[in-house]
C-alpha cells in the first residue's frame, strides 16, 4: 500500500511499545500502533516465543502465515520473565517505554513482580493495555479466556446459526480477539492523549467478552424492557426488515440482499422485473412483508435460484438495490474493488524470498497512511540491537545474559 513511506512521516513515530502479549488480542493493538509508526518491541520467551508463531498455516521459514502477517513491523526481543534477571531487564525497558501491551491471565505479571503498581512507579507515564477473557475485575477474572469462549459468554455465538440448530462460530474464531485489539488500541490512544496533557499514565482493562457484547445493538435494552430473548438468526434477519438475508443462486453461490426500507424493496421488485410486488396492496409495506416474510423470502429465493450470481447481482446493481456477493477468499483475490483499494499487499520475506500476501493496514489515512515495513520477525532477531540501542548494554552484558538463558 505505502511500502515506500518512510517511518519518519508516520504519526506515531517516537512512540515505543512493548508487546509482551501472545496470539492476537493485545498484540493486534501493537500491530496497529506499529503500522502508524510506533517502534514495537515484541518481548518473547527465549524458547518458543509467542504461540502465534505456531498458530495457523506453516510458512517456509518454519513459523506460520498468521505470525508473518500479524507481527508485521515488530522487532523481536527475547527475555525470560520467569528469571529474576529477566525481570530486571524488563523493568529497564519499561522505564523507556510509552505503551505496554499484555494479555497474561490476571495475576501473572504480579506474580513475577511486574504488576501495575511496580511498573507505574518505574514509569509514571506508562500506559498499559491489559487484555484477558473476563477483565481484571469481577468473579470470573481468573478464568482462562479464549475468543471462542468469549463469543459464547458475550452472547453472539448464541445468535449465530439456524433457528434451533447448533450455534456456530460467528464467521471467524478469532473475531473477539481482533475486536478487543481494536478497543484496546482506542483506549491506549485516548490514554496517550491524556498523558500528553497531564503526564499521567494509566491502564486500559479490556475483556474479550465485553468487546463482542458491546456489538449486540439493542439486544440488552429489548430484553430489559420487553423480555425479548433473541434467538439464532439463521441466514435472514427479519425482525425489522424483509427481505434481508442470504440467497442461493443457480451456480451454487450466494448473494446477500438487504431491503431495510420500502424504497429499497421497490428497487428489488424492479430488479426482479416484478414492480407489482411493491404496490401497497401487495408487499409494498415493510409491515406487510414482515407478516408474510416466508412468502417474500420464497419469491426472492426463487428469483435468485433462477439466475447465476453474476446475473442476479447485475440486476440488483442496475436498480441500486443493496446486494452483494458472499465472497470467499478466491472471489476476493479476483475482485476489482479490493485491488483498486490495495487491500491486498504482497510483502517479500527476505530470508526465504517467499512473497506473502497480507491485508493492508486499515483505516486509510489521507495524510499519514499506515504502512507495512516488514513481516513478522524471527525469534530474537532484534534482541542484540535493542539491548544495545535502547538499554545501552555492552556486548559482554548481552553475552552474559545469553549464557544465563535470560535472553
Amino acid at each position: 500500500m505505502t511500502e515506500t513511506t518512510a517511518a519518519a512521516a508516520l504519526p506515531l513515530t517516537g512512540i515505543r511499545v512493548v508487546d509482551v502479549a501472545t496470539v492476537i488480542a493485545a498484540p493486534y493493538c501493537a500491530t496497529i500502533l506499529g503500522e502508524f509508526g510506533a517502534d514495537v518491541l515484541k518481548v518473547e520467551h527465549p524458547v518458543g516465543g509467542d504461540a502465534l508463531r505456531r498458530f495457523g498455516t506453516p510458512s517456509k521459514r518454519g513459523d506460520t502465515l498468521t505470525w508473518m502477517s500479524e507481527a508485521r513491523n515488530k522487532r523481536s526481543v527475547t527475555l525470560d520473565l520467569r528469571r529474576a534477571e529477566g525481570v530486571d531487564v524488563f523493568k529497564q525497558l519499561i522505564a523507556k517505554t510509552d505503551i505496554l501491551c499484555e494479555n497474561f491471565r490476571t495475576g501473572t505479571l504480579e506474580k513475577w513482580g511486574l504488576g501495575w503498581d511496580v511498573l507505574h512507579e518505574i514509569n509514571p507515564g506508562l500506559i498499559m493495555l491489559r487484555v484477558t477473557g473476563y477483565g481484571q475485575t469481577g468473579p470470573y477474572s481468573d478464568r482462562p479466556g479464549f475468543a471462542r469462549v468469549a463469543h459464547a459468554v458475550g452472547g453472539i455465538a448464541y445468535l449465530a446459526g439456524m433457528p434451533k440448530g447448533t450455534p456456530v462460530t460467528p464467521g471467524s474464531t478469532t473475531l473477539g480477539d481482533y475486536m478487543t485489539g481494536l478497543y484496546g488500541c482506542l483506549g491506549v490512544l485516548m490514554a496517550l492523549r491524556h498523558r500528553e496533557h497531564t503526564g499521567e499514565g494509566q491502564y486500559v482493562d479490556a475483556a474479550l467478552y465485553e468487546s463482542v457484547f458491546r456489538a449486540t445493538e439493542e439486544l440488552a435494552p429489548a430484553f430489559a424492557m420487553y423480555g425479548v430473548v433473541r434467538e439464532r438468526l439463521g441466514s435472514s434477519h427479519n425482525d425489522f426488515a424483509c427481505p434481508h438475508g442470504h440467497f442461493a443462486t443457480k451456480d451454487g453461490k450466494w448473494v446477500a440482499i438487504s431491503c431495510a426500507t420500502d424504497k429499497l424493496f421497490m428497487r428489488l421488485a424492479n430488479a426482479m422485473g416484478r414492480p407489482e410486488l411493491a404496490s401497497s396492496s401487495t408487499y409494498g409495506e415493510q409491515k406487510t412483508r414482515l407478516q408474510h416474510r416466508h412468502d417474500v423470502n420464497e419469491i426472492v429465493r426463487d428469483w435468485c435460484g433462477s439466475l447465476t450470481r453474476e446475473e442476479a447481482l447485475a440486476r440488483c446493481y442496475a436498480t441500486d438495490t443493496p446486494a452483494g456477493p458472499l465472497n470467499n477468499i478466491a472471489d476476493i483475490f479476483g475482485d476489482r474493488q479490493f485491488h483498486a483499494r490495495r487491500n491486498l499487499v504482497a510483502v517479500d520475506e527476505p530470508d526465504t524470498g517467499e512473497s506473502i500476501i497480507v491485508p493492508a493496514p486499515v483505516p486509510l489515512l489521507s495524510e499519514t497512511p499506515g504502512s507495512i515495513r516488514s513481516l513478522g520477525p524471527t525469534l530474537g532477531q532484534h534482541t542484540d540491537e535493542v539491548l544495545r540501542e535502547v538499554l545501552g548494554m555492552s556486548d559482554a552484558d548481552i553475552a552474559d545474559l545469553r549464557v544465563k538463558r535470560v535472553v
Partner: protein, 408 residues
C-alpha cells in the same frame, strides 16, 4: 492512582474536542458514540423533519422519536437540526465545522460533494479538520457508489461466507451490524491518530473506511493462505480447523456450552474433567494432529459427555480443571450473570416516560479516565437553539427565520 477530588468526576481524555456526527445509523456514528463516552462533545446533525432513520429502526418505545437502538447508540449526543439540502443550511454547517475538530459522515460517496460540502470546502472552513468517512466500499474504487449496508459489506468482505455449516446455507455472524461496529472502531482509532497529528502539525486529514475492508482485516491468515497455496477457507460450523475439541456442545438440559482446547495441555485437562485421562495419552488423542485427524470421534466423545450433564455441572467440572469453557449465553443468561453485573456491563438509566432502560456499558475500561454515559439518545433538535445561540452566535431573530424556513 489519580488525584480526582471528592467532588468532581474524573477527567476525560477528549474534553474540549467537538465532534460533528452527520451520519445515519451506526457505521461512523458509533465512532462518535465512543468519542462521546470519553468526553468529546458530540453534535448529531440531523435533518429537521426526519432526523436519523435509526430513530425509527429497531424496537419501538413509548417515545415516538426513539427506538431502543437509538436510545442506546446515540448516547451522550446532542441533536442539532440542519437541512443540508438548502444553501443556508450548508453555510450554517460550514460555520459549525469551523468550530469543530472532527467530522463524521457516512453518506454515499459523492453526496456531500453534491451539497457543496466536499473536502475542499470543509478544509477551507477548517484546515485542521479531521474527517471520518465511512461507506460500504470506501471513497475510491469501482464500487464506491454502490449502496453498502453492513450486511452487504460483511458478505463482500468475506465474513458471512464463513459462518454456518460446511456445504450449508451461510448464516448471519451473530449480530447483524457487526461490520458497522468494526468499521467504527477502525474509524475512531484513525481519528485519534489524526487528532494527534493535527495537534502537532495543524494539518487535518481524511480517514477513509470501507466497511468491507474493516471486516476483511480481521480474518487472520485467510488471504496469506490463499496466496500461498490457493486454499479457500470454508465454513467451519461450530468447530475450528486448527484445534479440537473447539466448539459448541449441547447439554442434557438442552442448553449449549463452548469448550476451546487450543493446546494439548488444555485437552489433557478436559480429559481429567471428563474422568477419562487416558484419552490424552500419546497413543490416543494426546496430540493435536491426531485429534484433528479424528475430529469426528473426538467431538463425539465430548458430545456424549456433555450431553449427559446439566450445563452448570459441565461448567463446574471444566472450571475445576481450568479448561477454557463458557456458557453460550442468551441475553436472559447475561442479565443473570454476576460477572456482567460486577463489571458494569449493563448500565441502567431512568429515562423520563420510559422507566428503566438498560444499555451496554462503556468499553474499554480506563483506570484514570473511565468513560461514562451522561444521556441516552436525544430528542430531535434538543440542542439546536443552544448551538445556534452559544456556538454560532446567531441572534434570536435569525434563529427564528431559520426555523420558519425549515433550515433548522
Amino acid at each position: 492512582m489519580h488525584e480526582a477530588s471528592a467532588h468532581a468526576p474524573p477527567p476525560l481524555p477528549l474534553t474540549g474536542v467537538r465532534v460533528i456526527d452527520v451520519g445515519n445509523f451506526l457505521a461512523g456514528p458509533y465512532a462518535a458514540s465512543m468519542l462521546g463516552e470519553f468526553g468529546a462533545e458530540v453534535l448529531k446533525v440531523e435533518h429537521p423533519i426526519a432526523g436519523d432513520p435509526m430513530r425509527r429502526f429497531g424496537t419501538a418505545t413509548k417515545r415516538p422519536d426513539a427506538t431502543l437502538k437509538w436510545l442506546s447508540e446515540a448516547r451522550n449526543k446532542k441533536s442539532v437540526t440542519i437541512d443540508l439540502r438548502q444553501p443556508d443550511g450548508v453555510q450554517l454547517f460550514l460555520k459549525l465545522v469551523a468550530k469543530s475538530q472532527v467530522l463524521i459522515e457516512n453518506f454515499r460517496p459523492g453526496t456531500m460533494e453534491e451539497w457543496g460540502l466536499g473536502w475542499k470546502e470543509l478544509s477551507a472552513a477548517n484546515p485542521g479538520l479531521v474527517m471520518l468517512r465511512v461507506s460500504g466500499y470506501g471513497q475510491t474504487g469501482p464500487y464506491r457508489r454502490r449502496s453498502g449496508f453492513a450486511h452487504i459489506a460483511q458478505a463482500f468482505g468475506g465474513l458471512n461466507y464463513l459462518a454456518g455449516f460446511p456445504g450449508e446455507t451461510p448464516v448471519l455472524p451473530g449480530t447483524v451490524p457487526l461490520g458497522d461496529y468494526i468499521a467504527s472502531l477502525y474509524g475512531a482509532i484513525g481519528i485519534m491518530i489524526a487528532l494527534r497529528h493535527q495537534e502537532r502539525t495543524g494539518r487535518g486529514q481524511i480517514i477513509d473506511v470501507g466497511i468491507y475492508e474493516a471486516v476483511f482485516r480481521v480474518l487472520e491468515e485467510i488471504a496469506a493462505a490463499y496466496g500461498v497455496d490457493g486454499r479457500i477457507r470454508e465454513r467451519e460450523g461450530s468447530g475450528s480447523f486448527v484445534a479440537c475439541p473447539h466448539g459448541h456442545f449441547r447439554t442434557k438440559d438442552d442448553k449449549w456450552i463452548a469448550i476451546a482446547c487450543t493446546t494439548d495441555k488444555m485437552f489433557e485437562r478436559l480429559t481429567v474433567a471428563m474422568g477419562q485421562p487416558q484419552l490424552a495419552s500419546s497413543g490416543l488423542y494426546g496430540d493435536q494432529r491426531k485429534r484433528l485427524a479424528a475430529r469426528d470421534a473426538v467431538n463425539q466423545m465430548v458430545n456424549e459427555w456433555v450431553g449427559n450433564l446439566l450445563r452448570d455441572d459441565v461448567l463446574q467440572k471444566c472450571l475445576d480443571e481450568e479448561v477454557p469453557v463458557g456458557k453460550v449465553n442468551s441475553i436472559a443468561d447475561i442479565f443473570e450473570d454476576e460477572h456482567f453485573i460486577a463489571r458494569g456491563n449493563l448500565a441502567h438509566f431512568d429515562e423520563p416516560g420510559l422507566g428503566d432502560v438498560v444499555v451496554p456499558g462503556v468499553v474499554p475500561t480506563l483506570s484514570a479516565t473511565p468513560g461514562r454515559i451522561t444521556n441516552l439518545g436525544p430528542t430531535l433538535g434538543n440542542a439546536t437553539a443552544e448551538v445556534m445561540r452559544d456556538l454560532l452566535n446567531l441572534s434570536a431573530a435569525e434563529v427564528q427565520r431559520l426555523r420558519q424556513a425549515k433550515i433548522i
